[in-house]
């Protein structure tokens, strides 16, 4: 049985841990707020861009000289998986759910006899995938995840990287795996295709919309606009995923730290009870010793 001193030390150490976890929770909560704001601020651009793309793509997609980013390479042999995780741990199931999703997809693709390549954004994902799929990882992009504010320039850099590889014929299909932010407690693991671009459907009110899209004028022409728009759209998609991921990471961390703080509280309660019982037992024991000693002397 642990001595009184041991118990006291234990309680002190759990209290310290609780202080740290509750501080981390507060930090995550404020970071979450910022990340959420950023996610909201970046939405209009992404929406407008998909609208434009939808308007454009409808007319060009079936042309024989449609850009490869839109039409694909005509094969589906090599798949590139962009696994976006965080740089830091202690955020509950955030990273493991992404990695689990990535593993499942890798297994699926390999069963179908496709080649798989991986690009990792974020240290945690790389560390977790390295053991099993180390040979498949062709690049690790450092320093993008875990910034205070996601910079669009970073997403652009990743997009340029992808376009170069695509044009060099290194892969046929590219998907990104990340966590979509739903609320502070729920994040949805999402697998999203980046290349070839899947143009969003033109939504709702088809009669009115059709009239609108038909009369667009293009300057210079559709193809040229598309060839500029597609790589940018790729960057926007990646940026969106990274921003969602950042918000999810903070949300997951907040929830995890909240749990940890509560657990520590319970543990302290249990240990304190044990400590008090033992203290009382000892006092009782000492009293009995004194009383029986006195009785013997009489």
């Amino acid at each position: 049985m642990a001595s009184l001193k041991d118990l006291k030390n234990r309680i002190a150490s759990v209290k310290q841990t609780q202080k740290i976890t509750s501080a981390m929770k507060l930090v995550a909560a404020s970071k979450l707020k910022r990340a959420q704001e950023q996610a909201e601020a970046s939405r209009p651009f992404a929406e407008k861009m998909s609208e434009m793309l939808a308007n454009l793509a409808a007319g060009v997609r079936d042309l024989p000289n449609a850009p490869a980013l839109l039409a694909g390479t005509g094969k589906e042999e090599t798949h590139l998986l962009v696994v976006a995780t965080s740089d830091r741990g202690l955020c509950g199931g955030f990273n493991s759910s992404i990695v689990r999703g990535a593993r499942r997809r890798i297994a699926d693709l390999q069963n179908q006899g496709k080649a798989v390549k991986i690009i990792c954004i974020g240290r945690k994902g790389r560390d977790m995938l390295r053991r099993e799929h180390g040979k498949l990882i062709i690049e690790f992009i450092d320093g993008v995840a875990g910034q205070k504010r996601m910079a669009f320039a970073d997403a652009q850099m990743v997009a340029e990287n992808l376009v170069e590889r695509y044009e060099a014929g290194e892969f046929d299909v590219c998907t990104i795996v990340y966590n979509k932010f739903k609320s502070a407690v729920t994040q949805i693991m999402t697998v999203q295709q980046l290349v070839p671009v899947e143009p969003p459907e033109i939504e709702a009110a088809p009669d009115e919309k059709a009239g609108e899209t038909a009369i667009y004028e293009f300057e210079p022409d559709e193809e040229q606009i598309l060839s500029e728009l597609l790589p940018r759209n790729l960057a926007v998609q990646i940026f969106g995923a990274l921003v969602e991921n950042a918000a999810s990471e903070q949300g997951a961390r907040m929830a995890a730290m909240d749990n940890a703080t509560r657990n520590a509280g319970e543990m302290i309660k249990k240990l304190t009870l044990q400590y008090n019982r033992q203290r009382q037992a000892q006092i009782t024991k000492e009293l009995i010793e004194i009383i029986s000693g006195a009785e013997a002397a009489v």
Binding site: S42, L56, I215, Y216, A235
Partner: protein
């Protein structure tokens, strides 16, 4: 032409300038002049729908007959639809927020970058040259308009 639901008051054109990180401007103006790929074009209310590339340059926002705001953008896309004009730009700065000295400094930095790059690949060189081009245009815009509105 029928006024689109939710459109601005007649005679005004709704203008939105959006960057990936935030909405930079959302206002109504009498006319907006956009530096299109194939020449500047002015957008008034009820302009025909257009999708255009935008080259680096200055967007001019007119209130009445005079320019009320000038915004320098580093290229992007413009869409005119019955609801108004939307410009998607990766980077934009209102001219008054930019001093000529700062613009010249940016240009020098960009030129230095190109000189310092050892054996840049073709794509790198192109990229750096583009940055210089944008910086030059920025200086030019400030010299013409003096930064003040």
């Amino acid at each position: 032409m029928a006024e689109a639901a939710g459109g601005p008051a007649s005679g005004k054109v709704a203008f939105e300038l959006v960057s990936p990180e935030r909405v930079l401007a959302s206002l109504e103006a009498d006319m907006v002049v956009v530096p299109g790929e194939e020449g500047d074009f002015g957008v008034l209310a009820d302009h025909a729908p257009v999708l255009s590339l935008v080259r680096p340059g200055v967007i001019e926002i007119y209130d009445g007959n005079s320019v009320s705001r000038r915004i320098f953008i580093e290229g992007g896309f413009a869409e005119v639809n019955p609801k108004g004009l939307i410009v998607l730009a990766e980077a934009a700065t209102p001219l008054p927020e930019l001093s000529l000295d700062r613009a010249k400094e940016l240009l020098r930095n960009a030129e230095d970058d190109l000189e310092d790059a050892r054996e840049p690949s073709e794509s790198e060189r192109e990229k750096l040259e583009r940055v210089i081009e944008v910086a030059k245009l920025r200086v030019e815009a400030l010299e013409t308009h003096g930064g003040a509105v």
